[in-house]
Amino acid sequence: MKEELSVVGKGIPRVDGVLKATGKAVYGADFSLPGMLYGKILRSTVPHAKILNIDTSKALKLPGVRAIITGRDFPWGLKYGFTAFTRDQTPLAQDKVRYIGDEVAAVAAISEDIAEEALDLIKVEYEELPAVFDPFEAMKEGAPQLHDHVKNNISASHHSVIGDMEQGFRESDHVREDEFTTQAIKHGFLEPHACVGLWDQSGKATLWANKQSPYIVNRKLAMALGLPPSKVRVIQTYVGAGFGSARSDPFALDFCALMLSKKTGKPVKFVYTMEDVLVMGEMRHPFYLRTKTGMTKDGYLKAIQVYAVADGGAYSTIGPVSIALPGVSIDTPYRVPNIKYDGYRVFTNKGFCGSLRGHCVAQLRWALGQQLDMMCNDLGLDFAEVSIKNAVQPGDETPSGRKITSCAFTECIEKAVEVSGWKEKKGKLPPFRGIGMGTSAMITGARLSGHNSASCVVMMVEDGTASVLTGATDVGQGSSTIISQIVAEVLGLRIEDITINPGVDTECTPVDPGTYGSRVSFYSGNAAKIAAEDAKRQLAEVAAKLTGVSPEEIVFKDRMVFPRNSKEKGWKIDALIRHAQHRMGKESKSIIGRGSYDSGIDLLDLKTGKGNISATYTFITDVAEVEVDPETGKIRTLNAVSAHDVGKTLNPVLCAGQLYGGWLQAEGQLLFEHLIRDEKDGHVQNPSFMDYKMPTSMDIPLRSEHILVESIDPEGPFGAKEVAEGASLATFPAFGNAVFDAIGVRITDLPITPEKVLKAIKRKKEESSKT
């Protein structure tokens, strides 16, 4: 008999909501220690140069300055990075600077003002080197080289051919090749980076910081400080949003807070300004994509070939993954028998790029989803029908080895068609109104190299509650709430009976890979479920002894534990916990459940692109309806429809928040967000929210409809898969296709600014008057 769920699946308010609504959640800049000093960072003013000398003598004489450090104060030559091949970052520049904003020195003083003043007194002598800002220029022979060990500035590349491209295109009735580009955007979190570092006399380096993946920080700090990870402790504060690796990695402030603390014997606090955040890495990779799609005349995809060049900026970060991800995302969500991918991530003298919601897949969808629409238009086919024809299905193994288990993609398309009024509107809207569809698949946790498992501890407390220790970090997406719901459900408790650690402390929470690849609900949710079940099993054994039935017969419900067929023999759970803990003689014990989960899938072969990168996949279909003002070129979204196969809705309110938020974040990039660079020296020209514009409430679609489709994943906790990152992916092609439908011109380079729209309308008018 299927048990009714009482906590999972409900729109329970987030567990940290009251704390956040009352201003009591402690974020990065809110954390302080007695006697602490304040740090500031000096950034490079030139894009590419050797550092000849740094003179700190004058700055050191400024009253109130306590210490100044440069690259020389860190273990020389010790670099950190994602893999052994990509370790190219140092806490502060050692030999060279590689972009305007690269960190050169750091000051600790008794106040922020004095630290700031000291920066002006530091003299850096540079020997300027030729610099390069365009990835195509950077790839040429003889271009300025950013890193000595890397030829032609190819930071990472990924190549794969699966199937027979010639045959695929031969079998196609229609083949198109088109170009698309995307721009650099920032994660746009509102809380700047902040930390407090304390290197104490015992040799332990402790960092309090607003980090999304504290264990990544722990490992990289250890790597560059030359310490074993156990000597570095990272304690996570509340985090003012994440969206990617800009929150997962340590940056200069984190290393410097610790090193300045070591030098001064005092805790040191750094709070970056928003200008710091906008100038420095990380950000979304700008892409150039040349895509070629072949299709039969009745709409079956036969081959897709993608050539991609990503502007990586000055350092590698997770570059090998970044450039592989588009390649491994081509044969979902559609069945494509033949695929070829050549991707290059290239170093340039600009701030470095990393992951951002839908890491390098959003860019691919922008291209492929629009090209599919072009093909459909060329052949007179309907996008929705073609999508259904080609949709991957449960049980599919794609040519590159993705194993599709739960999959409600077709249902997503059908629901989006129905709710958006697609059939009534497509091709029938008045001039300057348009409707477009976009689709995507999304991994549920990328299986990268190294650590992948998640763990959890559930301790039963004598008042009948459960205390949960998870390695997962809640950066706003709601994992603390989801995990609490899962534990409450398993143990027959209510949400208010669950206490969960508000953040990760790498010294006492279970080790966790981090919050990336939309993995947390799936991996940490599963670990929490297993831990809760372990605690439940232990309690059931105690209850079985007391009631004389087998443990399998014991039911946990409404804070009671009882034999299935005789509720009257039951125990209140608090009494049972106390009994187990206090009154079982030599067998007395605290009930502590442990759970670890790994999907067990193989590592993706980065050389061939073959393998199953994720334990399961989600599927998304978006429909955008837009209106274009032909006088101003301004675009307004009339309706936003998102259908997302989430596996199982663990919390509908939180899921809806992801879909709404994901759409608008995408719309920001689609319409106006753009980190603008100077062509001559690559510096960021709009390092302020005055000029780097993000969507406000006035930019939201007039209507928005989210559809949560359930496919009950066999492996996910209660059947759940990801929702957060996938939420923004299908918006890219949907929106581009809607704009085309409205104005009859294809915009292929992001963002779709009013200027571009006006120009396109003008060009269209001129063309039609000629004919």
Partner: protein, 158 residues
């Protein structure tokens, strides 16, 4: 140059020697430990630092502390009565209007100023009211829903 300043914040009197160049945001956070008011962009663009001065929502990062001495200042810490949340806070918690929560105090304060003036708003008015406050997480729908729900709660209480 420091001078003795006196403030009326959340009905309490705060007095301290403060540099005359300090903003209200800096003074709230650094002198008085009222950390619920958040520093985001520090230039009046994000609204995370919104507080009320004489009932009007202001970006506290753009206000010189010295200029609001003697005026009635309300911060997020002044809304709840003991453990009883203000209806706006309740509504934000209930509707999913909070994700990372960094914008939340500012959003709640701007909502307070708005609903005190306009207790029975349309959704369009609510949308406009929060348009000076950025939120990167929610896409705003659930915040607008919270504003409407808060209005209803406040009308019932009144």
């Amino acid at each position: 140059m420091k001078q003795l300043m006196r403030f009326d914040i959340n009905g309490m009197i705060y007095e301290e020697e403060i540099d005359h160049r300090r903003t209200l945001l800096e003074v709230l956070r650094e002198n008085f430990g009222l950390l619920g008011t958040h520093k985001g962009c520090d230039e009046g663009q994000c609204g995370a630092c919104t507080v009320l001065v004489e009932g009007k929502a202001v970006n506290s990062c753009l206000v010189l502390a010295a200029s609001v001495q003697g005026k009635k200042i309300t911060t997020i810490e002044g809304l709840a009565e003991g453990e009883k949340l203000h209806p706006i806070q309740e509504a934000f918690v209930e509707t999913g209007a909070i994700q990372c929560g960094f914008c939340t105090p500012g959003m709640i304060m701007v909502t307070k100023a708005f609903l005190d003036r306009n207790p029975d708003p349309t959704e369009e008015e609510a949308k406009r009211a929060i348009s000076g406050n950025l939120c990167r997480c929610t896409g705003y729908y659930q915040i607008i829903e919270a504003v409407m729900k808060a209005a209803e709660k406040m009308r019932k209480e009144a």
